[in-house]
């Protein structure tokens, strides 16, 4: 075995340029793997955090039938006494807030806006005293202030404001149907513009005071949802079970249930990116396979000599596989080092995708800068897969060469 290892190692130095080129192909592949994987994992982690902070919270209490009818935003499928539930939750140590979500037609008047028109919008009516304890809008104001309790005011997402060319002080009219089906019109003053790290929120947010919506929509104090925040380390499912025990008669959904569309999309993206990475690996694998095939071809007489002298085919195969593993190891070490170096930059500075996310929903809840994360699993996978892949793809050329009979090997030109 010692001889086989030595032979494999020495053969690495035989065609230095070829070894370097093949290793470089592997290194580039692995560097890309570490970089892209880090960026995607970072985007997913950031997206999950931004979903919880600005859209779903960690747990949500809903009327039992609300979820199945959620697209209609039904006001009649509501939580009747949210304050009682909030008090129970508070005494159990939870931080929670109530909200009313409803849909409306937003009328833009040419007196304020460049164009007249109407838009379908989704409005969040929030408890202005509690909401920032659950969601993370504090500090996201870029202009104006938050809406005040009982006032006919609204806060709007920054991209939404840009799109409709709205400014603080402008009025918008919302036409909607209240609880019971009556038509209602609200004239609301834009008092603030928020810009948060969640592009969906920036693109669609309309946030008004809970009690104002309660009055206009005839909710009699009812809320369509109660949102609960948890610490990152909490066990989501056991907390959900715990809350179910407190609020019997209502559904308790985790953010994973609420964001299932996003999670499915993220999963699909991961699959798509996995295919790209697989192709990168295939290119590296073809490089190694080709190198080993050439090595076999050039050393056929040598193989014949070794087999004549009684060296087992399995030992010869092992020597070539180890040689390929050596090329893979060089590539994996260089690729992992370069990948880590690139990732250092990605973790600290990231890539600004604002030019894409501003106009296009890419699925991730990251508004501008996508940063990477450090993943020991990715680094270990990179190292191990570089070596293993090289060894696996060396098997076939070796097998082919060893199928030749010894006299043909010895007389190979």
């Amino acid at each position: 075995m010692k001889f086989i290892i030595r032979l494999a190692f020495q053969n690495l130095t035989r065609y230095k340029r070829r070894t370097i080129i093949t290793s470089f192909a592997i290194a580039v592949g692995l560097m890309l793997f570490i970089f892209v994987d880090s960026m995607l994992q970072g985007a997913e982690k950031e997206s999950e955090l931004n979903l919880k902070r600005y859209e779903t919270s960690y747990l949500r209490i809903l009327h039992d039938e609300y979820w199945d009818n959620r697209l209609m935003r039904p006001l009649d499928l509501s939580i009747e006494n949210p304050d009682l539930i909030l008090a129970d939750l508070e005494s159990a140590g939870y931080t929670a807030t109530k909200r009313i979500t409803f849909t409306a037609d937003m009328i833009l008047n040419s007196a304020d806006f460049p164009e007249e028109g109407n838009l379908s919008v989704s409005v969040q009516a929030v408890d202005v005293e509690r909401d920032n304890a659950v969601f993370d809008f504090e500090g996201t104001l870029v202009e104006g202030r938050f809406a005040q309790k009982g006032a006919d005011e609204v806060v709007i997402g920054s991209w939404f404001a840009e799109d409709i060319k709205a400014e603080v002080g402008y009025y918008i009219s919302l036409i909607t149907r209240g609880n019971g089906g009556f038509y209602e019109v609200m004239d609301l003053e834009i008092v603030g513009i928020v810009n948060c790290p969640n592009p969906n929120v920036n693109r669609t947010l309309l946030m008004m005071p809970f009690d104002t919506a309660d009055y206009y929509l005839g909710m009699d104090g009812a809320a369509t949802e109660i949102d609960i925040t948890l610490s990152e380390r909490s066990d989501l499912n056991s907390e959900a079970e715990n809350v179910k025990g407190i609020v019997s008669g209502y559904s308790v959904l985790t953010w994973r249930d609420l964001a299932r569309d996003y999670l499915a999309l993220a999963e699909a993206k991961r699959g798509g990116t996995g295919t790209i990475l697989f192709l990168v690996f295939i290119i590296a694998a073809v490089g190694i396979s080709n190198t080993m095939l050439m090595a076999m071809w050039e050393r056929t007489r040598e193989l014949g000599m070794m087999r004549s002298l009684g060296m087992k085919d399995s030992s010869i195969r092992m020597a070539f596989i180890l040689e390929a593993g050596g090329i893979g190891l060089i590539g994996a070490v260089i690729g992992t080092a370069l990948g880590c170096l690139a990732n250092l930059w990605l973790v600290n500075y990231g890539i600004d995708f604002g030019f894409i996310t501003r106009d296009m929903d890419i699925g991730y809840r990251v508004a501008t800068v996508m940063k990477g994360i450090w993943s020991v699993k990715t680094i270990v996978t990179s190292l191990v897969s570089g070596v293993l892949l090289s060894m696996i793809v060396a098997y076939l050329p070796t097998r082919k060469a060893l199928k030749m009979d010894i006299p043909s090997c010895l007389h190979h030109q």
Partner: protein, 226 residues
């Protein structure tokens, strides 16, 4: 003793069947210095390959010291070659990335010889073939003659019963070729190893103690001399 009885070997080249050996009968005694000569295509390399258990015959039998080697399967032949046969090739077939010492010692290494004994035997055989002081040079730093000396050392280091040499002097000038022949003759006497050559080279034929001349796959003559 090598006993070759009625050995036939045919090859197919496309649609054509080439009769490389046609019923060869030959006995080779231990310690012989035998040269198999003949024109190209006469079957000398084929016969050498069959004795060396690296090719399979179509008919007949080859026994070495009573062991029917021609009937062995692939793995048994590999083991037999490893333990009993040495090979010298026309183009030396050394591993260029290994030193002279490593090129020779790997034969003992695959036999599982312990490290201490491996070093001692390798240094000794390299000394005997005249390569003392060059043990750690790679083949590209040595002349053709010196490379063939490594090949001889590699063939002899495990002290095989038989050494098979295919055109061992063909790539050497006549002076170096003669030195190599003298060396092999000396090794033949020292170790009583049977040497069988295939050759075109008249000088090799002159050195041989027995000359078997092949023609069209048959033995045309078999001459012993002292």
């Amino acid at each position: 003793m090598i006993k070759i009885e009625g050995v036939t070997r045919n090859y197919k080249t496309g649609e054509t069947e080439v009769k490389a050996l046609r019923g060869i009968d030959l006995d080779v005694n231990d310690g012989e210095f035998l040269s198999i000569a003949g024109p190209s295509g006469s079957g000398k390399t084929t016969l050498l390959n069959l004795i060396g258990c690296i090719d399979s015959l179509d008919d007949g039998e080859i026994t070495i010291d009573g062991v029917p080697v021609s009937r062995m399967d692939k793995h048994a032949k590999t083991t037999y070659r490893r333990e009993n046969l040495g090979f010298i090739f026309q183009t030396y077939n050394l591993i260029p990335v290994l030193t002279a010492f490593e090129n020779v010692s790997f034969v003992l290494s695959i036999l599982g010889v312990p490290q201490g004994e491996l070093s001692e035997r390798t240094y000794r055989i390299l000394r005997e073939v005249g390569l003392e002081g060059m043990e750690h040079r790679r083949p590209d730093k040595l002349s053709g003659g010196q490379q063939q000396r490594i090949a001889i050392a590699r063939a002899l280091v495990k002290q095989p019963k038989i050494v098979l040499a295919d055109e061992p002097t063909a790539n050497l000038d006549s002076k170096t070729g003669e030195e190599i022949l003298q060396l092999m003759k000396q090794m033949n006497r020292t170790y009583n190893t049977t040497f069988i050559f295939s050759t075109h080279d008249k000088m090799v034929m002159e050195y041989a103690s027995r000359l078997v001349l092949l023609h069209d796959g048959e033995i045309a003559s078999d001459t012993r001399r002292e």
